[in-house]
Symmetry: C2
Subunit: 390 residues, 2 copies
């Protein structure tokens, strides 16, 4: 096990009708002049935004609003948010939405105090050392940004999707009401599930030895997600199933699964290029890229793939490690299919992927190398895109 | 799943040589005038206390010292600590030791700002609403106090062992260096393991439905502990095994296993009377009381006990639920025996337990009823002590 620091200070308020605690939490964390940040669809149409405004008015909490966050959130709106916060002396950002809204809020929060271009934070040579406090009201269980120290923003110039992390990006509070996810369409629900499973697997597939506790955390979370997934799809208003999926999405990414080990993240890098170039839903892209990545790398760490097959998918272990490992990978792929997700680029409506451009952008974003379980160069990455194509 | 708030803001700094971060962490959390609080044995004899003093001196951090905390820490020393902190204007308490030292530090921290007797916090009608910040350097993986919002103190008058919780009791940082546990004797190591397993099982055995994620967290942690335990006993200096056990001890009690459910805690209440009256090691007492409690209550929630047997102990499920459940309980008892722990009051060197006195004190501490998985009255409690006797 490697040395690590684990710090997850977010106050999670979970359950039915927890939105009613918004004003109390804003006061607790000194949010007196708030930017409410939200997306294009759900917050407005569902009446949620209206409810929150009423609550804040009732408690005499001043606020301004900025909506319009799109999936794969754009830097253009972030610049707008930074301007608005400075102009209005905002001291708290309340993100109402899924991972895209929360990430956009985090980018604004960290950009407000930074005199230069916030995109420098993604270049690796500028550290975030101050940010406005962010609170979240989560509507889509998927990205885990409600409990994570990370953000991903798409740069409009060149469609580059870039991520970074900092302790200052941890939300101070997150309200998770599973009822808000009842109306989430099946495809988005399934994509969210693939997203959270991806966050676990990026941590799980590690070469670091002696991490039994966090391995078991990863495996337990995956098993719980696998069990609850058919229920949320068949009974979208099943509270307990929605609740378990929503809580799993947070745990998948707040780092409890990753402590003490080298993480991988190659599959996310490969997928980010798909999202940036083709605008695909991140989770759906992961459902395509994970089995492809696994098929390419499993021989480099066969024992971990055998463990994955046996402990997560209940595959009976035999002497033939390759066979056991492949059965685990196949189980994951079948599971994604069963959720209605694409498992090839063709199924993702990209019949002729522009692999040259994908690789070119990937090389630019990674310096030509990515991954840790097996370090990939751009030839490896190309081979994985080709496996994913079919 | 029930509504819940989960807030675990402690900064955990984990790994080899992490003691070197003590001064940095004290500065980060404004500890400029520190009380170093420690026990009777390890901190002094191992040289650890000396190392910490040298570090603080080197960084010009002022400190005073209070040692002498005993297992099952006493209120008498807490009063002394409160006086000392007030007299010296201490603004931070650094606990160097195991759960007893940390709990004693928490009691001092919450008592300093309270004008009346700190023991009122344990009566349920006075709330802790302020406390000095506490940092910990953990030497014994067991109690989980390094990451919990709880404390247990023994009152010298009448030997009452009482617990309470408050968000103000969460340490601001905890340094966990597994190397510090290398010299822990086998019996204390095993007792610590029973203690952390107890913290998980008090949460796991719940009547709340729809808690698959936290059930899987509990089961995964138990399985990891079961796997690593023989190694720490056979190879006390095996870093990875010690590290997994140390991290598991924190996770067992910071509430990640308990969110969204009604917890039980009857077995802890039963054991606290043993500790208070006979001074037994808490974990060893739990190793006796848990199987006894289980044998008495399992028919009240047979499905959970079947799940425990199947998922944690790999018992093959059959149509005979009673048989499966009992095999799980027997597996736990055998596991404790294998660790060298007592599994009866006789083996705990209490051949003739004074059950009347135990019940009398238990009635006083619980109001005559305890537990939630099955609510126990004092007749039930007496029956469980009798099962434990043999």
């Amino acid at each position: 096990m490697n040395n690590f620091t684990y710090w997850s200070p977010t106050e999670f308020v979970f359950g039915r009708n927890t939105i009613s605690k918004t004003a109390h939490l804003l006061k607790k964390y000194n949010g007196t002049n708030v930017l409410i940040h939200y997306g294009e669809q759900f917050a407005v149409k569902s009446g949620l935004l209206n409810d929150i405004e009423t609550l804040l008015q009732h408690h005499f909490i001043h606020y301004v609003k900025l909506g319009g966050v799109q999936p794969n959130p754009m830097d253009t709106l972030v610049y707008e948010g930074i301007e608005l916060c400075r102009k209005e002396n905002v001291n708290f950002i309340l993100a109402v939405g899924g991972g895209s809204v929360i990430d956009s809020a985090k980018a604004i929060a960290s950009g407000v105090y930074y005199a230069s271009d916030f995109r420098n934070f993604f270049e690796g040579n500028v550290t975030i050392n101050r940010a406005l406090p962010v609170g979240t009201i989560l509507t889509i269980p998927a990205a885990g940004s409600e409990g994570s120290d990370r953000m991903v923003i798409t740069q409009k110039d060149g469609l580059l999707k870039r991520g970074t992390k900092s302790p200052f990006l941890r939300p101070v509070f997150s309200i998770l009401d599973p009822v808000l996810s009842f109306s989430l369409p099946a495809y988005q629900t399934a994509s969210g599930i693939a997203d959270m499973m991806g966050h676990i697997m990026e941590r799980y597939f590690s070469r670091t030895q002696g991490v039994e506790v966090s391995d078991r955390m990863c495996e337990g979370l995956l098993k719980a997600i696998i069990k609850e997934s058919p229920t949320v799809l068949n009974e979208p208003e099943n509270y307990d199933a929605r609740a378990n999926i929503m809580w799993a999405g947070m745990l998948a990414h707040n780092d409890i699964c990753g402590v003490g080990r080298e993480e991988d993240w190659a599959t996310h890098k490969l997928e980010h290029e798909l999202s940036a170039l083709y605008g695909v839903t991140h989770g759906a892209g992961l459902a395509v890229m994970f089995p492809a990545w696994m098929k390419y790398v499993y021989t480099s760490g066969i024992d971990k793939f055998v463990q994955f097959a046996v402990r997560v998918w209940d595959i009976k272990e035999t002497d033939n490690k390759n066979e056991t490992a492949l059965k685990g990978i196949e189980s994951l792929k079948n599971f994604f299919s069963m959720l209605g997700l694409p498992v090839s680029l063709a199924e993702l409506n990209i019949p002729n992927p522009d692999i040259n451009t994908l690789i070119e952008k990937l090389a630019m974003n990674t310096g030509g190398r990515t991954g840790a379980f097996r370090q990939l160069d751009m030839e490896d990455a190309e081979a994985i895109y080709r496996i994913a194509a079919k």
